[in-house]
């Protein structure tokens, strides 16, 4: 069968690389709504999906876009949407429906500076806490942060794989800078790309429990038409999927939803370490900011400052154990992010008495490496 993966070297921007990653991951449905700076994801995938027997539809708003991908997911296909801050806000209620109905899907947020309309064409990383807590109620979520167009490709595939494995929405928390930056992107041969699809149930249809967790805490997922007659609801439900308005059922359902993420942290959390072995100061960063953080580390080392980088590829769930163990031996943490201190707070929560600092910015520009160096010097003084 002819492969639709564009194997080879390309010079494309992050948004386009994201669309190609989705195609390579086996995405077959995209429900979208235009918004700067995420529009190019929709434009590219609107061309690519029909070539692979998939469907693109531009919905009437972001609420509809997000909802349509859940409907599509229940037909057994991999589905996706892409947006930026204002659209992300509109999607939040439906994100909760995806979490509670354990519907796999991928949501890309190419972040721009907010609040409100903010700076539509300029980057920020200020939706990180919204990604964690934006929908009402308690839940766990997975969010990945690509630092380059290459990672827009790679992590889009990872996002689909995680969402299929854990039956959960996965966010790709990109930003305008990575989204609009053009760089070399290497797309491997299709057979070398690892893709995961949700397990489908087998066995007796009349006894099937669509929310009874399997070994990794996740239930196999039937598609519409498979004959399992599933009922899927946003109400608190039992393993059969039936609404039960009781404290016990709420407790059991929540344990299931939280457990499947919390009990698989080793599989979900991806980080990269650079010169951490002997570091006195640890820079924690993600997405585009990890690039300036990396430069800061190199410059600091030349100045004789023992700085290292912990790059969060997975931002949610947060690698709290990693911070805890580093906190025992380092002199301080500097979180580099384009916001006024979001992931910095998480670092603080797990750093104990080790001092933590923010190299932040209200949005619209990257964090200059000098800012990081200045804080490091003050911290060590």
């Amino acid at each position: 069968m002819k492969s639709h993966v564009l194997t080879g070297e390309h010079f494309i921007n992050g948004d386009e690389a994201c669309a190609e990653g989705a195609i390579a991951a086996g995405c077959k449905f995209f429900g979208g709504y235009p918004i700067t700076p995420a529009t190019e994801v929709a434009e590219q995938i609107s061309i690519r999906l029909p070539q692979v027997g998939g469907t693109f539809i531009q919905m009437e708003d972001e609420i509809a876009a997000m909802t349509s991908i859940l409907g599509a997911a229940w037909t057994g296909v991999k589905s996706m949407t892409a947006t930026s801050g204002p659209g992300f806000s509109l999607m939040m209620e439906t994100v909760g429906l995806a979490v509670v109905t354990e519907t796999p899907c991928v949501v890309v947020n190419v972040q721009r500076a907010g609040p409100s309309t903010g700076l539509p064409t300029q980057g920020a990383q200020a939706d990180m806490m919204q990604a964690r807590w934006g929908s009402h109620g308690d839940y766990e979520i997975i969010a990945l942060a690509p630092s380059s167009p290459q990672e827009m490709f790679d992590l889009t595939i990872t996002a689909f794989n995680l969402s299929e494995t854990y039956r959960t929405p996965v966010f790709i928390m990109s930003d305008e800078i990575v989204g609009h930056m053009s760089e070399k992107v290497i797309i491997p041969e299709a057979r070398k790309i690892k893709t995961v699809s949700r397990p489908r149930p087998t066995g007796r249809k009349d006894r099937f429990l669509p929310y009874k967790p399997g070994p990794n805490g996740v239930a196999p997922m039937p598609a519409i038409g498979d004959g399992y007659n599933v009922h899927v609801t946003g109400l608190t439900h039992d393993e059969k999927g039936y609404p039960v308005m009781s404290v016990e059922t709420q407790k059991e359902m929540m344990a299931r939803l939280l457990g499947k993420i919390r009990n698989n942290l080793d599989d979900i959390i991806l980080t990269e370490e650079h010169r951490l072995e002997d570091a006195d100061i640890v820079v924690v960063s993600y997405g585009v900011s990890a690039r300036t953080a990396y430069t800061a580390v190199e410059e600091a080392r030349q100045m004789g400052i023992k700085m290292g980088l912990l790059r969060l590829i997975t931002v949610w769930p947060f690698p709290e154990e990693k911070i805890r163990s580093l906190a025992k031996r380092v002199k301080g943490f500097i979180t580099v992010e384009i916001n006024m201190g979001q992931i910095c707070r998480e670092v603080q929560r797990f750093a104990g008495l080790t001092p933590t600092y923010l190299a932040g910015h209200p949005g619209g520009a990257i964090i200059p490496p000098e800012d990081v160096l200045k804080i490091a010097k003050e911290a060590l003084a």
């Binding site: 029909p50 469907t55 509809a64 409907g71 599509a72 296909v77 038409g225 007659n229």
Partner: protein, 286 residues
């Protein structure tokens, strides 16, 4: 117990109902159950295998419909049944997708989705149970509440003009538009069957009493409402949608108002966008 269950004749629709979820939540005197029965009867009479159907509901009393039908069924967020159904339909065009929900859900909070699905001629069937109020939350004013009618948030009467829903659906591009009351069970069943058999966006408004939260405030017992449905309605197929205001003093017009052919969203998309030689991969027919 064993004895009675072997001797009792099973209800003809039992295979389509999640019997393990009965009793349902609908109040006595509520019309939603009758609308649901007509819908299930139409599904059964269509002869199409049940796994070729999906039902999607939003939130509200009638939004619970998806919870009682024994097919793949989805109880989504408030107002969003139509975009959820759109995702199903566009990913699996061979399925019959039925949206069963209420007036508040479909026409107020979900109004934007209604008009756009109609515009696109999305091949889904929308059954809109119109009880003229927000029943589940206790009877607040709705986009369908008659002018001057009382509700818990318009205690001196509704100052607003309600929607004429068939006109709205027609203007937005729906290719099948009908209105019945839950009392017109046979006509309603026929309408749903027609909608199942055809392709395109079908909108069926069903007037249905909410004695508990609308009737009580407007001095209307369940039987009074049924009497109005019987005596103050006029069946006029082909009536122009602009004549269809819900005014029982003038007489409410029922019937089929629009039934035209227009290519559906999924058909046009595939024709224009899918390469002609491409085998229609992974489109199983269940």
């Amino acid at each position: 117990m064993k004895n009675s269950s072997t001797t009792a004749t099973p209800h003809p629709l039992e295979d389509l109902v999640r019997m393990d979820r009965i009793p349902h939540i609908w109040c006595s005197g509520c019309g939603t159950g009758s609308v649901f029965t007509s819908c299930l009867t139409a599904i059964k009479q269509s002869g199409i295998p049940y796994n070729q159907f999906a039902m999607v509901s939003g939130i509200g009393c009638s939004g619970r419909g998806a919870g009682y039908i024994n097919i793949d069924s989805f109880h989504t967020t408030h107002g969003r049944a139509i975009p959820f159904a759109t995702g199903i339909k566009m990913a699996r065009p061979d399925l019959k997708v039925i949206v069963f929900s209420g007036d508040g859900d479909l026409c107020a909070i979900g109004g934007n989705h209604l008009i756009h699905a109609a515009r696109r001629n999305m091949d889904i069937i929308v059954i809109c149970v119109n009880n003229l109020t927000y029943g589940m939350t206790g009877g607040q004013v709705a986009a369908t509440t008659p002018f001057k009618a009382k509700s818990s948030t318009t205690t001196l009467g509704n100052p607003d003009t309600p929607f004429n829903l068939p006109l709205l659906a027609y203007a937005a591009g729906a290719t099948y538009v009908a209105r019945w009351t839950m009392l017109h069970a046979r006509d309603l069943t026929d309408a749903v069957q027609t909608a199942i058999a055809r392709k395109g966006f079908s909108f069926i408004e069903v007037l249905s009493p909410c004695p508990v939260n609308f009737g009580r405030r407007n001095r209307e017992k369940s039987l009074d409402t049924l009497r109005k449905y019987h005596e103050n309605t006029i069946v006029k197929n082909g009536a122009h949608p602009s004549e269809l205001d819900v005014d029982f003093n003038k007489g409410v017009i029922l019937g089929t108002f629009v039934n035209v052919d227009r290519p559906t969203c999924d058909e046009v998309y595939r024709k224009m966008y899918w390469p002609a030689e491409e085998p229609k991969e992974q489109r199983k027919t269940g």
